[in-house]
């Protein structure tokens, strides 16, 4: 890691943007760009490695850990430039999601071991939360971890584990104590997927891609040093991480991507001046641009206060909903072409398929509506 980087928050915006663009142009091959789905990690690894070399892989991390230390508005610009040039969706749950949690909760040993390896793309992480009977009601998870000397013996199952079939590691919630309330007795564990007793079954998603998996644990032995935070206190770690995840889950970047695709369509069809489509496009643009205003505000709050308030559910609900609306509008404007399965940049169905998951994952939008009603609006519990 080089230490000679400029202060990315201080250099002029134009220069900052130019730096990112230069990096993409030189390091991200054209065949990786503007692809609607996620490539397998080996395909995108050269690009990942390049970001790693330049210390661009973890823009939100502090500089001392190889991050760029970007403030939220710069972070947004970073994402904006990446999206505008169609850089591929990476397997970066580690740097994006787990990294900040390790920085906050990890022991020095954990930091020293995990952070550089996820930074380098040597470890690919997946998140193991959901179980067949613990979806919206996550706290009722059952996947069993028996404390046994230095180790934890894991038995049970996870499901909807994104990218488990290509991950080297999983950060997961494991029930290590059944004596207390259901939020208690859960540990946040860092699990090597190559351990004996782990079986992964990919599940095809609507787009026909193996995006998420079932993961089965059969007497998997994990050392207790792989618990992040304290044993049985995993819920706390997971909740703190939810903050970051919810900012990410509420980002309008995916809606913005469809908006650009929509605009290209209208331009190609000569409909930008058609009063009907101009009105619909303006409305769609407002929906996405307004989401950006909201996103920036929440991101600013996170930076200022260091925490995300419950109001952020509103951002997640809005951004994921408009992603769906825009994907449906794209089908409408393309008429009979919308019925065809194609691939690459012209894939009109991909946004439709891709936009179905975000309203369900990271807490269904219905769960977030409950949260708002209870915690923000102060309405009485519904039972």
């Amino acid at each position: 890691m080089t230490n000679s980087a400029p202060d990315w928050n201080e250099i002029p915006e134009a220069e900052f943007r130019a730096t990112i663009r230069e990096c993409i142009e030189n390091e991200c091959p054209a065949e990786l760009r503007y692809h609607p789905y996620r490539f397998p990690p080996e395909v995108t690894m050269p690009w990942y490695k390049a970001l790693h070399r330049r210390n661009f892989i973890a823009p939100g991390w502090p500089v001392e850990y190889g991050g760029m230390g970007l403030n939220p508005s710069r972070h947004l610009i970073f994402i904006e430039e990446m999206e505008a040039m169609g850089t591929p969706w990476l397997h970066d749950a580690g740097v994006r999601n787990l990294g900040p949690a390790i920085i906050a909760w990890g022991t020095e040993e954990q930091k020293a071991y995990y952070l550089p390896r996820m930074h380098a793309g040597e470890h690919i992480w997946c998140q193991g939360y959901s179980e067949p009977s613990a979806g919206s009601d996550l706290a009722s998870l059952q996947c069993d971890g028996r404390l046994d000397g230095e180790n934890v013996i894991i038995n049970g199952q996870k499901i909807w584990t994104t990218s488990a079939h290509v991950a080297t590691h999983m950060f997961g919630l494991i029930r290590t104590d059944r004596s207390g309330k259901k939020q208690e007795g859960i540990s946040f564990m860092l699990i090597d997927m190559s351990l004996p007793g782990i079986t992964v079954r990919p599940i095809a998603n609507l787009g026909g891609h193996p995006d998420f998996c079932e993961v089965f644990f059969d007497n998997v032995v994990v050392p207790q040093s792989c618990i992040l935070g304290e044993v049985n206190q995993g819920w706390k770690v997971a909740r703190s991480l939810l903050g970051f995840e919810r900012i990410w889950a509420g980002s309008p970047r995916r809606a913005m991507k469809v908006l650009r695709q929509l605009r290209r369509e209208l331009e190609t069809q000569g409909l930008l001046d058609d009063p009907l489509w101009a009105d619909r496009f303006a409305k769609a643009s407002f929906d996405a641009l307004d989401a950006q205003d909201m996103y920036t505000q929440f991101a600013d709050l996170v930076r200022t206060d260091g925490k995300v308030g419950v109001e952020i559910s509103a951002l997640k609900i809005w951004s994921t909903s408009i992603f769906q609306n825009l994907s449906e509008m794209l089908l409408e404007v393309t008429g009979s072409r919308s019925t065809l399965s194609t691939s690459g940049e012209d894939d009109l169905l991909a946004p439709y398929y891709e936009s179905r998951a975000p309203t369900i994952f990271a807490g269904t939008n219905e769960v977030h509506l409950n949260i708002l009603a209870r915690s923000v609006l102060g309405l009485a519990k519904s039972e």
Binding site: D137, S140, Y352
Partner: protein, 371 residues
């Protein structure tokens, strides 16, 4: 043309339901994606045997003399096979011959399944409201490219819309002729849809000028009604799956269907489903009796727009209420979702239907009457 009587309707409904019980095969559909001809609700021989190809052929050609009212019942029912193919494709071909008053014996063969004419009319993605083919007919041959030709793999003939000296014509092309070439794309549901390239293909004119324009328009309007009928079947089946899910899936210690917020979502879906059913029933109950092209076109457009809109709503809400299960390819819901995605933009999406309806309103305002 007459409207199907209640007894015949019930008989059709039962036959189709029985057929689907025996032949619905999600695994085969998944395995056949991208193949030609892909999974079918029934092959041509079976459809002929069951009498489904005879339904919309006039009695003097050996058919049952019914129309879209009866065929709509079959299309709706075949949603139980997750697709009605190749019913709509064959219907369009046969109806184009009927409306063009073609009479050299081909329709009699349609009834038997020995001739399978298919309509090739579309060239651009947004042709539905006002098709104006670039395909040219001259001196017995036709040249041009047609797209979104459904069931072309089954076609013995193509009924092709073209222009002759600036006027509409409908011509008949033998599928095995020189100058006829097919290529296949794949729809959202994995079934093929074709591009038909015609290079001086030998052809016979079956309708000219306003007769051709009228015949094509009526055929397309009937086709869009048929698609609407199939969509209704998918809506009902998606609703059924969702309600089963709501009544069995538990979270927070109770079935999720007991959560009032989800109940209202389901009820709202039902409001649209019930509305849509009313429009379909009303339309099928009168369509074949309507002779005025403006009235017919407006009814068809309004019906189809409603079906499309409700389908979109039910797809979106069904997936959401299913949760993560809803975004896998492994459940039954996904088969309906993908079929609907293959149909929504076929023969006119909602925006196109509204544009068509508006154009007809203007036309009717010019000639005096409104609505």
């Amino acid at each position: 043309m007459t409207i199907v009587d209640p007894q015949t309707a019930e008989m059709l409904r039962e036959t189709v339901a029985k057929h689907c019980e025996r032949h619905a095969d999600g695994a085969l559909i998944r395995a056949s994606r991208g193949d030609v001809p892909g999974a079918l609700a029934a092959d041509v021989a079976t459809m002929a045997e069951l009498g489904w190809l005879a339904v919309s052929v006039p009695e003097d050609h050996g058919g049952l003399g019914l129309g879209v009212s009866a065929t709509g019942i079959i299309a709706e029912g075949l949603s139980g096979c997750y697709s009605s193919d190749p019913l709509t494709g064959l219907f369009l071909g046969a109806r184009a011959l009927v409306h063009a008053q073609e009479s050299d014996g081909l329709l009699a063969q349609v009834v038997e399944g020995s001739a399978t004419p298919v309509l090739a009319w579309q060239e651009n993605a947004h042709d539905f409201a006002s098709p104006l083919p670039a395909t040219e007919y001259r001196n017995g041959t036709v040249s041009g490219t047609k797209r979104w030709v459904a069931s072309a793999a089954q076609a013995s003939h193509f009924v092709v819309s073209a222009r002759e000296d600036g006027r509409d014509v409908l011509v008949l092309v033998d599928a095995s002729s020189d100058g006829v070439s097919l290529s296949f794309g794949t729809r959202a549901d994995g079934t093929p849809i074709s591009e038909l390239a015609l290079t001086s293909a030998p052809s016979t004119v079956i309708a000219r000028g306003s007769d051709a324009t009228r015949a094509l328009r009526r055929t397309l309007d009937e086709g869009t009604i048929l698609v609407a009928a199939e969509l209704m079947g998918h809506i009902d089946r998606m609703m059924k799956l969702v309600l089963e899910h709501l009544n069995t899936r538990k979270q927070f210690g109770k079935v999720i269907g007991s959560f009032q917020a989800l109940q209202h979502r389901a009820s709202n879906m039902f409001v649209h489903q019930r509305l849509t059913r009313s429009v379909l029933t009303t339309t099928l109950g009168c369509a074949d009796l309507i002779t005025d092209p403006v009235e017919f076109g407006q009814r068809a457009a309004r019906l189809r727009a409603r079906l499309n809109d409700t389908t979109q709503l039910v797809m979106r809400e069904s997936i959401q209420l299913f949760g993560a299960m809803g975004i896998t390819d492994e459940n039954e819901l996904s088969l309906h979702i993908k079929r609907c995605l293959s149909l929504l933009g076929y023969l006119g999406n909602s925006t196109e239907q509204r544009r068509y309806w508006t154009a007809l309103s203007a036309q009717s305002a010019r000639t005096g009457d409104t609505n």
